[in-house]
C-alpha cells in the first residue's frame, strides 16, 4: 500500500472519529498545521496517554487509571447488587442520579448480529466470572457476594436483546435478575435521559 503524505494521513485518521466528515477533518488538520507546534505535541501526548494509562477495571470493566475503578474500590458501596450497563457514559448517567449504591458492570456494547457483534465481543465472560466468586488476586476488602443483577441496557431493540440474553444466562445461576423499569422512554439513549426519569426507573425496576 502506498503511504499518503502527512496531511492526507492526518485527515484520513481524523475522519475516522465519530461525527467528523472529510470536510471537518480537513479543516481540523489545517488548523493544527497553522498553530504553534505546542498544540500538536500536547495533542499527540494526550492521545497516547489516554490509551497507555486508561485501561479497564479488572472487575467491572469500567474505565480506570489503576487496576480497579474508584467505584469498585469504594468500601461504602453495596456488594450484593450489580447494575449492568452498555457503556461508561451510561454508567455515569446512572451514577449521577445518586439512587444506586451497588456496583456496576460495563459491557462495552450491545449484541448486534447486523454489526457482527456477538456475546463474545462483549464483557459478558468477565461478568460471569465475577458472579462465580472472588478472584485470586483481588483485594479482600472489596470482596463481593452478588445476589441481584439489574439490567440497565437501553430500551432499544438491541438493548432488549442483550438484556434477554443475559437473563437467559443468569437466571439458571439462581441470581435475581431485574430490568430497569420502562420509565426510560423508548428510543432514547440512557446518556441523554434526564435524572428524574432514570432514578424513577431504578426505583421501579421489575423482576424478570
Amino acid at each position: 500500500m502506498k503511504t499518503a503524505d502527512p496531511i492526507t494521513d492526518l485527515i484520513n485518521n481524523l475522519s475516522k472519529l465519530p461525527g467528523i466528515g472529510e470536510r471537518t477533518a480537513s479543516r481540523l488538520a489545517f488548523f493544527i498545521l497553522n498553530q504553534p507546534e505546542e498544540l500538536a505535541k500536547n495533542l499527540a501526548e494526550s492521545l497516547t496517554n489516554v490509551k497507555d494509562k486508561i485501561g479497564l477495571c479488572k472487575r467491572c470493566c469500567n474505565l480506570t487509571e489503576g487496576d480497579y475503578c474508584s467505584i469498585c474500590m469504594n468500601v461504602k458501596r453495596d456488594r450484593d447488587k450489580i447494575c449492568v450497563v452498555e457503556s461508561a457514559p451510561d454508567l455515569r448517567a446512572i451514577e449521577n442520579t445518586g439512587e444506586f449504591r451497588g456496583t456496576y458492570h460495563v459491557l462495552h456494547g450491545l449484541i448486534s448480529p447486523l454489526e457482527g457483534i456477538g456475546p463474545d465481543d462483549l464483557r459478558i465472560a468477565e461478568l460471569l466470572r465475577r458472579l462465580q466468586g472472588a478472584q485470586e488476586d483481588e483485594p479482600p476488602e472489596i470482596a463481593e457476594d452478588i445476589t441481584e443483577v439489574i439490567l440497565a441496557t437501553s430500551p432499544s431493540v438491541d438493548g432488549e436483546a442483550t438484556s434477554l440474553y443475559l437473563t437467559r444466562l443468569l437466571k439458571p445461576m439462581g441470581i435475581k435478575v431485574s430490568r430497569i423499569a420502562s420509565g426510560v422512554p423508548i428510543g432514547s439513549d440512557l446518556e441523554y435521559t434526564d435524572r428524574m426519569t432514570l432514578s424513577r426507573a431504578l426505583l421501579e425496576r421489575r423482576e424478570l
Partner: protein, 405 residues
C-alpha cells in the same frame, strides 16, 4: 385538523414556498414535473418523517443547497402547533413548537395525512408489501404509537436475518433471544392489524356498495403468510395475543431448519397479506378493472371515514393526480364524498383543472417551475358562483360551462 400555513425552503425544486392553504380544498394545477407532487410529499414528510417514495436525504434537497426545511402550522382541537423538519445530507432533524424532538413517538400524531396517488390504483393487484403498507399507514394514523412498534419489529427482523446469515447462526441461546423478540413484537403487529381490519370492514363494505353496486359484497380478510393452511377459527385466534404468540412460536419451530438454510426469517407479519374477495370470488383473479378501482377507492374513503367516525378527527387528505386514473363515475363519487360527507382539508394536484369537480370552498394555485402562485378566484371558471350542482353534472358539461364564462 388544519394546516394553516406551510413554509418550504430548498425542498426538491421548491426553492421558497410560503402558503396559506384554504381550510377546505386546495387545488394545485400545472403540467407534470413542475413540483405539484413535491408539495404533497412535503406535507407527507411533516406527518410521517419518511417519504412515500423511497428516497435518500440528498434527493430531497434542492440542487446546490446543503439543507432543506419544511414547516407547517397545524391546528387540531383548537390548539396550534408548529411542526418542522430540517433535512441535511446526513439526516433529518424534527422540531415540535421549535423544540428538537428526541423521540419520534412524541411527534407522531401531530399531523395526520392520508395519501391517495396513482400508484394506489393497483393496490390490490400489486405485491403484498403494498397492502401491508396500506394497513400499517392506516393504523399509524389512528394510533401513532404503532409507528414505534413497527419500527422495532423491522429492527428485530434485520438483526434476526443477520444472525441467520452470520457465523453465530447455530448459537441456540442467541437465536432464542431473537425468536422471543420476533414473537413479542410480531404478535402485537398481527393483533393490531387484525383489530384494525375488524373495525374498518363494515365501513369499507358499505362504501363499496355505495360506489359500485349494492348487490356486491366486498370482503377483506387478514391472511397469515407463514402459517401452513388456513386457520380453523381465525377470529378466535387473531383476536387473542397469546394464541398468536403460540402460533408464531410453533411456526418458528417448524421452519427453524429452513430459515437457517435460506438465511432469513420466514415467519412473521412481514409475510402477511390482505385477502380480498368480491361476492366470494378472489378479487385478484376475477375482478374487472372497474371493480378493482372501486375497491381501492372504497378502501381509501373508508380509511378516512373510519378516522372521522371512530377517532373523531378528519385527517388531511392528499390526492395526487388520481382523477386521471379514475373513470368518470368513480371520480364523481369521490368528489361527492369529499364535498358532502367529509369535513377535512384536502390538497389536490392535477394536470387538468376540469377533472376536479369542485366549485366552492376552494383555493386554486398554479404550479410552474417550482413556484406556486395563488390564482385569483375570478379567473377560476369553477370557483365563480356557479350553482352547487355544477360538480354533479357530467364532465363534458363542466368544460362547456367553462367556455360560457
Amino acid at each position: 385538523m388544519l394546516v394553516k400555513a406551510l413554509r418550504l425552503r430548498h425542498f426538491r425544486n421548491l426553492s421558497s414556498i410560503d402558503l396559506k392553504p384554504h381550510p377546505r380544498f386546495n387545488i394545485f394545477s400545472g403540467a407534470n414535473g413542475q413540483g405539484k407532487t413535491n408539495l404533497l410529499e412535503a406535507l407527507y414528510l411533516l406527518s410521517a418523517v419518511k417519504s412515500f417514495r423511497p428516497q435518500t436525504n440528498a434527493e430531497l434537497i434542492e440542487f446546490d443547497q446543503s439543507q432543506a426545511s419544511l414547516e407547517a402550522h397545524v391546528e387540531r382541537g383548537g390548539q396550534e402547533r408548529i411542526v418542522k423538519i430540517e433535512i441535511g445530507e446526513r439526516g433529518k432533524k424534527v422540531y415540535l413548537n421549535n423544540n428538537k424532538v428526541k423521540q419520534l413517538s412524541s411527534f407522531f400524531g401531530t399531523l395526520n395525512v392520508v395519501m391517495f396517488g396513482p400508484e394506489d390504483i393497483s393496490l390490490m393487484k400489486g405485491s403484498p408489501s403494498n397492502r401491508r403498507r396500506f394497513i400499517d399507514r392506516a393504523i399509524f394514523n389512528a394510533q401513532p404509537a404503532y409507528a414505534t412498534e413497527s419500527m422495532h419489529y423491522d429492527e428485530v427482523l434485520k438483526q434476526r436475518n443477520a444472525l441467520l446469515k452470520g457465523p453465530h447462526n447455530s448459537d441456540r441461546k442467541l437465536l432464542a433471544v431473537y425468536d422471543e423478540q420476533l414473537i413479542q413484537y410480531g404478535a402485537s403487529i398481527v393483533q393490531r392489524r387484525y383489530n384494525y381490519l375488524q373495525e374498518f370492514k363494515p365501513t369499507f363494505e358499505k362504501t363499496f356498495q355505495d360506489i359500485f353496486d349494492a348487490s356486491f359484497e366486498a370482503e377483506l380478510t387478514y391472511e397469515l403468510g407463514w402459517h401452513s393452511g388456513p386457520l380453523n377459527d381465525p377470529d378466535a385466534v387473531l383476536s387473542d395475543r397469546i394464541k398468536i404468540e403460540q402460533l408464531l412460536a410453533d411456526a418458528l419451530e417448524r421452519t427453524s431448519g429452513e430459515e437457517r438454510d435460506r438465511g432469513h426469517t420466514l415467519v412473521g407479519p412481514h409475510r402477511d397479506d390482505l385477502g380480498a374477495t368480491l361476492n366470494g370470488r378472489e378479487l385478484k383473479a376475477f375482478a374487472s378493472q372497474g371493480q378493482h378501482r372501486a375497491f381501492v377507492l372504497a378502501m381509501k374513503i373508508a380509511e378516512i371515514s373510519h378516522l372521522e367516525e371512530r377517532y373523531n378527527f378528519a385527517p388531511i387528505l392528499l390526492l395526487d393526480d388520481v382523477s386521471s386514473e379514475l373513470d368518470r363515475d368513480r371520480n364523481r363519487y369521490l368528489f361527492d364524498f369529499l364535498c358532502d360527507r367529509m369535513e377535512g382539508q384536502v390538497f389536490i394536484t392535477t394536470t387538468h383543472r376540469d377533472y376536479i369537480l369542485l366549485d366552492h370552498d376552494l383555493a386554486v394555485f398554479h404550479v410552474k417551475h417550482g413556484e406556486i402562485e395563488a390564482q385569483d378566484p375570478e379567473t377560476d371558471a369553477f370557483a365563480t358562483p356557479h350553482s352547487p350542482q355544477t360538480y354533479s353534472q357530467p364532465l363534458e358539461n363542466s368544460s362547456s360551462a367553462k367556455q360560457e364564462e
